[in-house]
């Protein structure tokens, strides 16, 4: 009996602490995910099992990549420290279940935004951090220089559980070419099998091809064909039903893009506080109350830019300087002819 009372009191204490936490801002009160994140002190982020340029861990376990930077930006905004992220490497197959079950709170894992994913399985895409498209890699000495050279009986290595499998079928079917799909669960096995000569071509998103090419035994023996056979807008995903958290992740990404558009970067962010341009002042938080609306303080965006950098810095650091895709192509700010265009932060 005595023990029971003891247990009850501790239970009441736990509830009291929980209630205590809820007396924060309105937004925080509404968002369970934000509250939990602040309580546990880190952002739970799902990433790939290793895709150079997007999310890749080095030997010491440090994660880098443009997808990783989205999670770091969220951590900088919510917790004030971009390093407070717990990364969970996930296979293509596991990723959505991990998100909907609450194992992670942000999925930033080169995931294509499609209608059925957005609408059907309890997910919400918050934006696009990389415009990609599916392509083909072949051996240079095969003489294949375009997808028009593909003939009946070609074998294509790829991953399961991605839009790639569907696009591949659409592509070969529309051209009336019979093909042999060889689909592996993990990307490393796809690369190994293609490299060994099991398949004539390796197909996935072009950024993935460029990144995986660096892992081949002899990267110069392979080329990526010029054609793009699909639209693959990749972006971070959150669970459906937590609008505040969704907004935080969306605007963390938008801030990075908007900062680049207005020329704000990690080096000049502090100086920009006194800029003449009100748009820039809003980005660095010296004008307006942008943070409050999200349930955060007003320095949230400044921290993102200072700790993670703007989108261009992230791209340069992870994708251009590593030689994966030096040319930004569609992933350039709209004012410079690219597709990156965010709603204004005001």
């Amino acid at each position: 009996m005595f023990k029971l009372i003891k247990q009850l009191t501790s239970l009441v204490a736990v509830f009291a602490v929980l209630i205590g936490f809820t007396t924060e801002s309105m937004a925080a009160k509404k968002s369970k995910t934000l509250k939990n994140t602040q309580k546990q002190g880190f952002v739970k982020c799902g990433v790939s099992q290793g895709l150079p340029g997007f999310s890749n861990a080095d030997a010491a376990g440090n994660w880098t990549g443009v997808d990783v930077d989205v999670c770091r930006a969220v951590a900088a905004a919510v917790l004030g420290d971009a390093s407070k992220v717990k990364f969970t490497p996930l296979s293509a197959k596991e990723r959505f279940t991990a998100l909907t079950s609450g194992e992670i709170d942000v999925l930033s894992r080169n995931t294509t935004w499609t209608l059925s994913r957005d609408a059907d399985i309890g997910l919400t895409f918050v934006g696009v951090n990389f415009y990609d498209g599916q392509g083909f890699m072949v051996r240079k000495n095969s003489g294949i220089s375009s997808v028009n050279d593909f003939k009946n009986g070609i074998s294509a290595c790829t991953n399961i559980g991605t839009t790639t499998e569907l696009n591949m079928r659409d592509f070969f079917n529309s051209r009336g070419i019979s093909y042999e799909p060889v689909a592996f669960e993990k990307a490393d096995e796809v690369v190994a099998a293609y490299d060994a000569g099991r398949c004539d071509t390796y197909t996935t998103d072009k950024s993935g091809l460029a990144a995986q090419r660096t892992k081949m035994s002899n990267p110069d023996d392979h080329i990526v064909l010029p054609e793009t056979i699909s639209k693959e807008p990749l972006g971070p995903v959150v669970r459906q039903g937590d609008a505040v958290w969704e907004d935080i992740v969306r605007w963390s990404l938008n801030t990075m893009i908007e900062a680049e558009e207005y020329g704000v970067n990690s080096a000049n962010a502090d100086m920009m506080k006194t800029s003449e341009n009100p748009a820039i002042k809003r980005i660095v938080g010296s004008e307006g109350e942008m943070g409050t609306a999200l349930g955060l303080d007003n320095d949230w965006s400044l921290r993102i830019i200072k700790q993670v950098g703007n989108y261009g810095e992230s791209y340069k650091r992870n994708i251009a300087d590593t030689g994966i895709l030096p040319d930004r192509g569609p992933n350039e700010i709209w004012t410079k002819g690219g597709l990156l265009y965010t709603p204004p932060a005001r």
Partner: protein
């Protein structure tokens, strides 16, 4: 209180407890899914799957339904399990007997084989056979012909395709042969029981199995021709064979790994079974004038089998379940096709995982039931 009721109460309580736990979890799952806007249902099974599969025993492409994709995966799982079980059994029996051989070389080779293959994790063995095979096998254009008609290459094992004329007549001739063999066996048993005469049943059976189909070829209009695989160039350095049947390297590697691994365990079962029959049985059988062959067939094996069958059943079940590792090397089994691609494309994790679990359960239970029936059949009949 009645003692019957007293006994019933704990059982009812246990049942209620189990029901409560199950109810708690399914209620939670339902609530969580509702909260996250996930709908539940099996309607997706009739939707178009829109993905292709590398290798299928039935006609399938992306325009078929998810249910058909499920069947494709299931049949591929059954295919690799059946081939694996057959090879593992033959190999296991041979190795098991070899371990009892008085010959030092045979005996030690068998012991080495068992210790080597059963002590390396199966997944590693699957990777080894797959990637070793991929590295070691020639590209199609460099492949040497086997008997002039088959080619073992990195892209698959190309064998001639059989083209039958009047296959049904050939099929009936085999059925007829099997029926007549059964009749002859019954007659031979009767003859032995009543008159003590032994008929050479084995040779008669083989003869029937050869002669009847042969007659169907000579007089029944049955004809068999082969389509031999021909090399075809796809690009400067890319070739395949066309016209024959292609057995994918994934299937070969998986079968090889599964049967080599499981054979070690079956070999141990066989050895235990034979050693479990006491030496006196063999000596007694020899002393009444049975030949060594008859001793093995009539005295040793019937007793050994009773020891061998139950643990071997376990190994068959293991092999079937282990075949789900196929996903690692792109063999399109149930896990890869259904619990992999289909799960991803539909996002219906609970539905698909539950179907997959039930399927493996049914497969295992079917094997169990069959093996239990066989075990009962050979068990000692107490009189």
């Amino acid at each position: 209180m009645n003692s019957k009721i007293k006994k019933l109460i704990p059982q009812l309580l246990t049942l209620a407890f189990v029901a409560l736990i199950f109810g708690f979890f399914s209620y939670n799952a339902q609530l969580n899914m509702e909260n996250r806007g996930i709908t539940f249902g099996y309607g997706f099974l009739s939707q178009e799957s829109s993905f292709d599969v590398q290798f299928s025993l039935i006609e399938y492409d992306g325009s078929h339904t998810y249910f058909r994709a499920y069947l494709v995966g299931l049949l591929n799982t059954i295919l690799v399990s059946v081939i694996g079980i057959i090879i593992a059994t033959i190999l296991g029996v041979l190795i098991g007997i070899a371990r009892l051989s008085p010959n030092f070389l045979i005996n030690n080779f068998a012991a080495f084989y068992v210790e080597f293959f059963r002590n390396i994790p199966l997944l590693l063995q699957i990777f080894f056979w797959y990637f070793a095979a991929l590295r070691a096998l020639p590209l199609p254009e460099n492949a040497e012909a086997i008997f002039g008609v088959s080619y073992l290459t990195i892209k698959g094992f190309y064998v001639p395709a059989f083209i039958w004329e009047n296959f049904d007549i050939f099929f009936y001739s085999i059925v007829a042969a099997i029926i007549s063999i059964i009749v002859i066996r019954i007659y031979a048993k009767k003859l032995r029981d009543t008159e003590g005469k032994q008929l050479p049943v084995f040779y008669i059976s083989i003869g029937l199995l050869i002669i009847l189909p042969l007659i169907s070829f000579l007089f029944g209009g049955v004809n068999l021709s082969f389509q031999i695989p021909q090399l075809k160039q796809l690009a400067l350095t890319s070739f395949i064979y066309e016209g024959g049947v292609s057995i994918p390297p994934e299937l070969i590697a998986l079968t090889l790994a599964l049967s080599l691994y499981t054979a070690t365990f079956i070999a141990e079962c066989v050895r235990a079974g034979i050693q479990g029959v006491s030496k006196g049985q063999k000596e007694a059988a020899a002393s009444i004038g049975l030949t060594p062959n008859q001793v093995l067939k009539l005295v040793i094996m019937p007793q050994a089998l009773r020891i061998i069958i139950p643990p071997t059943t376990n190994q068959y079940l293991n092999l079937t379940k282990n075949s789900s590792l196929a996903a690692a090397i792109a063999y399109p089994d149930l896990v890869l096709v259904f619990a992999g691609t289909a799960l991803m494309q539909t996002g219906r994790a609970i539905e698909i995982v539950s179907i997959t679990m039930l399927t493996y359960l049914s497969l295992s239970v079917s094997i169990s039931i069959f093996m239990n029936w066989y075990n009962k059949k050979i068990a000692i009949k107490e009189k």
